[in-house]
């Protein structure tokens, strides 16, 4: 294992403490795997218009997106192939995270930034150490820390994401615009990070490192 890959591997196992989460998270070879997955999901005309997902597998100290774990959903959701914490003999790999895409309906649509409320719910429900979303333009990652992120949380509580979102939007003004919309989504994501204890990373597609943009308080 390359020494500088250790941070990402430790993060993928959920063993990093909150104080150890870096401001910049190097992705190393995982960025290549991610970009290959996104290129297939967003560029191939036959595959656009549907969300794509893939389990993030840890094997031999590398993070992989195996072909057999890649799935297509529909235009609004996707379901992982793995069950969390699968320890059956045939399931020798470790399911540490999930990556999926948010698609636009048309080429004129702006990308949908950030995570949805159900993304937070599912990530917690599956005990993910890494949860990645790409909207075709940017990559967002929720990173678990051993001493801050919740193990289990009531999905009914997390289900209030839309309520938070609407409230933030209403606070920002009666006439929505793109910046206020983005800011409301941002604030809803920030509050969900506070609740779940996930740390939020962000970066443009193709980047080899992600920037920490919010640490849960």
């Amino acid at each position: 294992m390359p020494p500088d890959n250790q941070l990402l591997i430790r993060l993928s196992t959920g063993s990093l403490r909150y104080s150890e989460l870096p401001d910049w998270l190097p992705l190393h070879n995982f960025s290549t795997a991610l970009e290959a997955f996104f290129a297939c999901a967003f560029v191939n005309p036959d595959l656009t218009g549907r969300e794509h997902g893939c389990c993030i597998i840890s094997r031999d100290n590398y993070l992989l997106l195996p072909r057999q774990h890649k799935v297509q959903g529909d235009e609004r959701q996707v379901t992982p192939t793995c069950e969390p914490n699968n320890t059956s003999p045939e399931h020798i790999e470790t399911y540490v995270g999930y990556v999926h895409t948010h698609v636009c309906k048309t080429t004129e649509d702006l990308p949908h930034p950030g995570f949805s409320g159900q993304d937070f719910c599912k990530s917690i429900d599956d005990g993910l150490n890494l949860s990645v979303v790409c909207n075709g333009q940017d990559i967002f990652m929720l990173a678990r820390s051993s001493d801050r992120t919740m193990q289990r949380v009531d999905s009914k509580i997390l289900g209030n994401w839309m309520f938070i979102f609407r409230r933030h939007l209403s606070r920002l003004g009666k006439k929505p615009n793109d910046e206020l919309l983005s800011l409301s989504i941002w604030e809803a994501n920030r509050l969900m990070c506070d609740l779940t204890g996930y740390t939020l990373y962000f970066g443009p597609r193709g980047t080899d490192r992600l920037k920490c943009v919010y640490r849960p308080q």
Binding site: E51, G53, G73, R76, Q77, V78, T79, P80, Y98, H102, K105, L110, P111, H112, P113, G114, S116, G117, Q118, D119, C121, K122, D125, D126, Q137, D138, F140, S155, I157, N160, W161, M162, F163, I164, F165, R166, R167, L169, R171, K175, P176, N177, D178, E179, L181, S182, L183, I185, W186, E187, R190, L191, C193, D194, L195, F202, V213, Y214, P216, Q217
Partner: protein, 201 residues
């Protein structure tokens, strides 16, 4: 167990807003999240409550946080729903006028037959911050709610004029105590308040 990463509600909401924007002729621009993050750090109005306060409230039956700009309230079972009712206490409010008010559907004792309690903050001419409480739509004498803050003052029933003349709030933690003394024995609800009065912009 949740089966899928389901973005339906998320997408419906965004699509509806963007559809409305297009009808208004508003040009969309994708805003980078590092820019939003920086703006968020600089924004004063999101400084309260902290995430720590939010998480701590999960363990509390009822809690309220506010500063000079915003007020938030939480209740254990539905912390986020109540947190989202935080109201802006806008700067520049005329002196003597209420800085903000909030109807809170707390976990009030069912036998008290009180649907809600309204909290308001007032800034007096001398700059003092006054907290007032009232029970909308109810006759104060019949309801009979005793309210005390930090043990420094108390009142009966929620008469706004009486409350506004009470002892001003000061920085730091205190306890808002509601005694529903029209019931025997009177149920009591104690609400921790964390008061932080910030300087004007």
């Amino acid at each position: 167990m949740i089966n899928a990463y389901d973005d339906s509600e998320f997408l419906d909401m965004i699509d509806a807003i963007r559809s409305h924007m297009r009808k208004q002729g508003i040009v969309e621009r994708y805003v980078p999240w590092d820019e939003l993050a920086e703006r968020s750090r600089q924004a004063r109005w999101i400084t309260a409550p902290t995430g720590t306060g939010l998480l701590r409230s999960l363990a509390e039956p009822l809690s309220v946080f506010f500063n000079a700009t915003r007020m938030f309230c939480f209740s254990g079972p539905e912390p986020l729903a109540l947190a989202a009712r935080g109201v802006p206490l806008a700067g520049g409010t005329p002196l003597g006028e209420p800085l903000g008010a909030e109807i809170m559907h707390w976990e009030l004792p069912a036998e008290a037959n009180i649907p809600a309690i309204k909290l308001s903050l007032y800034r007096k001419e001398n700059g003092q911050i006054i907290l007032s409480c009232e029970v909308p739509g109810m006759e104060a004498q019949r309801v009979g709610v005793d309210i005390s803050v930090g043990g420094a003052w108390s009142l009966r029933g929620g008469n706004l004029d009486t409350i506004a003349g009470g002892t001003p709030l000061t920085d730091g933690p205190c306890l808002l105590k509601l005694t529903f003394n029209h019931i025997s024995p009177p149920p009591v609800r104690e609400i921790p308040l964390n008061i932080s009065v910030e300087p004007e912009d």
